[in-house]
């Protein structure tokens, strides 16, 4: 079988004395939608950020399409084709919506910018209405959409999403997941970190469960859902 697009092998990472990742191994193939679920503090965000060397990986290897990420400075990762939509959105509050989107083009330059802005406004019509507004004036759901669209502006080969449903009303979550489905159907490879296991497994082909910095379990959606521990921990029994 061909090699995975993202290959994480026995990775350790820590914040000072606190070890946040312990022997983490997982992989994603081109075109897959893979989810990672786990309780608060399990180390999910840490795993995503470790791709950008923040925190740095102290042991193990991360390869993206054959390139070792652990030897690259953090700002070089995006240009390899990886976009992260971080937990808490992190839109640039004092920039307009459109400027936020343009910031997303940093790794590839602005040659496709008009075309891609059109695409994003088609995918997220609300952003077109708000394009001149400061991002700080957007609602939480709109900011999440902006963060996703900004991630897509770099035409990534791998989209990393960290809890896109965080703090949003069910209807907005539904909206965002249907847009993600549309993005996925275009062939995008997606790695989705979620606490909302129900939504995550509806979108994903397979998933991993993380606890205390370790991968506890991996498998298809049905396999994970049939696991008693997962049901008890994340689905309320």
């Amino acid at each position: 079988m061909n090699q995975p697009l993202l290959d994480i092998q026995e990775v350790d990472a820590s914040y000072g004395p606190i070890q946040a990742l312990n022997q983490v191994s997982m992989h994603i193939h081109q075109g897959e939608i893979v989810t990672l679920v786990g309780a608060n503090g399990a180390g999910k965000s840490t795993l995503l950020m470790s791709l950008f060397g923040n925190p740095g990986v102290t042991r193990g290897e991360i390869h993206f399409d054959g390139t070792a990420l652990t030897s690259q400075p953090g700002h070089k990762i995006a240009s390899l084709g990886i976009a992260l939509v971080p937990e808490g959105r992190h839109v640039f509050a004092q920039m307009s919506v459109e400027e936020n989107l343009i910031m997303g083009t940093t790794p590839i330059g602005t040659k496709h910018v008009h075309e891609d802005l059109e695409k994003m406004y088609e995918l997220f019509p609300i952003l077109e209405e708000r394009k001149q507004q400061n991002a700080s004036t957007l609602s939480g759901g709109e900011q999440q959409m902006l963060a996703i669209a900004r991630g897509l502006m770099s035409r990534p080969r791998l989209l990393l999403l960290d809890e896109p449903s965080l703090g949003l009303a069910p209807i907005v979550v539904q909206q965002i997941f249907s847009i993600l489905k549309e993005v996925a159907s275009g062939g995008m490879t997606i790695f989705l970190v979620e606490q909302n296991v129900h939504h995550a497994l509806k979108l994903a082909n397979r998933g991993y469960v993380m606890a205390n910095g370790r991968i506890k379990l991996g498998g298809t959606g049905t396999e994970l859902l049939s696991n008693r521990e997962v049901r008890e921990a994340y689905m309320g029994g």
Binding site: I77, F92, M95, M103, P107
Partner: protein, 305 residues
């Protein structure tokens, strides 16, 4: 005080304030991007006065006497050399401390300030130096009772400073570099994730600040002539006051704060007392810190997550 004296003080204040504004840009941009007060900034300004004198001496030695060429030549070299200082200081004294406590780079900055002062004092001598007056003459505006006099150099200071500020505003608002600066300022980690080399952006901000200080240093030296190794201290604190007045971290705030401080200092000198003008400026600093620490255009500190 009659109208013409008042206007005269305002014109003087505008020229002085443009200088404060140019220097304040360096304080405010560096604070905006890495949250530190670069106490060595005033001394970078001081360096540019010496470079101005050296370049003028060299140019006249080679027989160049046309004022526009001397002006452009000195501006070119002071900006170049100051930029190198700004870049090097950040690289050597601040970047290695980026992960440590907030206090460490501050102390390092005071150290750099002392190093620059002492090194100039030793290499150039402690006494005050000067450059010859290269441009004299002035406009005279007759008024009902009295007149206003605007010297060509004052006019030059105001025009060049406004051009420099306009250019910088355009860069920050409309270019890729400017967007990268603002992104790094607002959320450094996210900027890195998007592929921005934030270390390079921070270096660039130091270079921009030093270049603006060079602009100020050259203009002032051409205008007033004399300088010594210690001039960076007072003018640095004044420019810092201007940055705080305008709202530290805000670029338009630095310009506005500079001009307001220059004008009020000038009015104070004209109406009250020249000897106490520095006391006036520093009292203003204390008052702003107490009553409006965010300044005129500054935003209240937002906790970053």
């Amino acid at each position: 005080m009659d109208l013409s004296t008042l206007l005269q003080q305002l014109v003087n204040g505008l020229a002085l304030g443009s200088v404060y504004g140019l220097i304040a840009i360096g304080y405010t941009m560096v604070y905006g991007i890495i949250g530190m007060i670069n106490f060595a900034h005033g001394d970078v300004y001081m360096i540019s006065a010496y470079v101005t004198a050296i370049v003028i001496a060299l140019l006249t030695f080679f027989g160049i006497e046309s004022f526009p060429i001397i002006l452009l030549g000195t501006l070119f070299f002071t900006i170049l050399i100051n930029s190198a200082y700004g870049w090097t200081i950040e690289r050597l004294a601040y970047r290695p401390l980026r992960q440590s406590t907030r206090l460490a780079p501050l102390i390092s900055a005071i150290g750099v300030s002392l190093v620059l002062q002492n090194y100039v004092q030793i290499s150039q001598g402690a006494r005050s130096q000067g450059v010859p007056t290269l441009m004299s003459g002035s406009f005279r505006l007759e008024m009902a009772e009295g007149f206003i006099q605007v010297s060509y150099t004052q006019l030059l200071i105001i025009v060049v400073a406004l051009l420099g500020m306009a250019l910088l505003t355009w860069i920050i608002q409309s270019t890729r570099l400017g967007r990268e600066c603002r992104a790094t300022q607002q959320d450094r980690k996210m900027a890195m994730i998007l592929g921005i080399n934030t270390d390079r952006v921070i270096s660039t901000v130091f270079v921009i600040g030093a270049a603006m200080a060079a602009l100020a240093g050259t203009l002032v030296t051409l205008n007033y002539g004399t300088f010594d190794f210690y001039i960076g201290f007072i003018i640095g604190i004044k420019a810092f006051t201007a940055a705080v007045l305008g709202g530290i971290g805000s670029l338009p705030g630095a310009m506005l704060g500079g001009i307001l401080l220059g004008m009020s200092e000038s009015l104070f000198s004209g109406m009250v007392n020249t000897d106490y003008k520095d006391v006036f400026a520093f009292s203003l600093l204390v008052l702003i810190m107490i009553f409006r620490p965010t300044g005129l255009l500054g935003k209240p500190e937002v906790e970053k997550v």
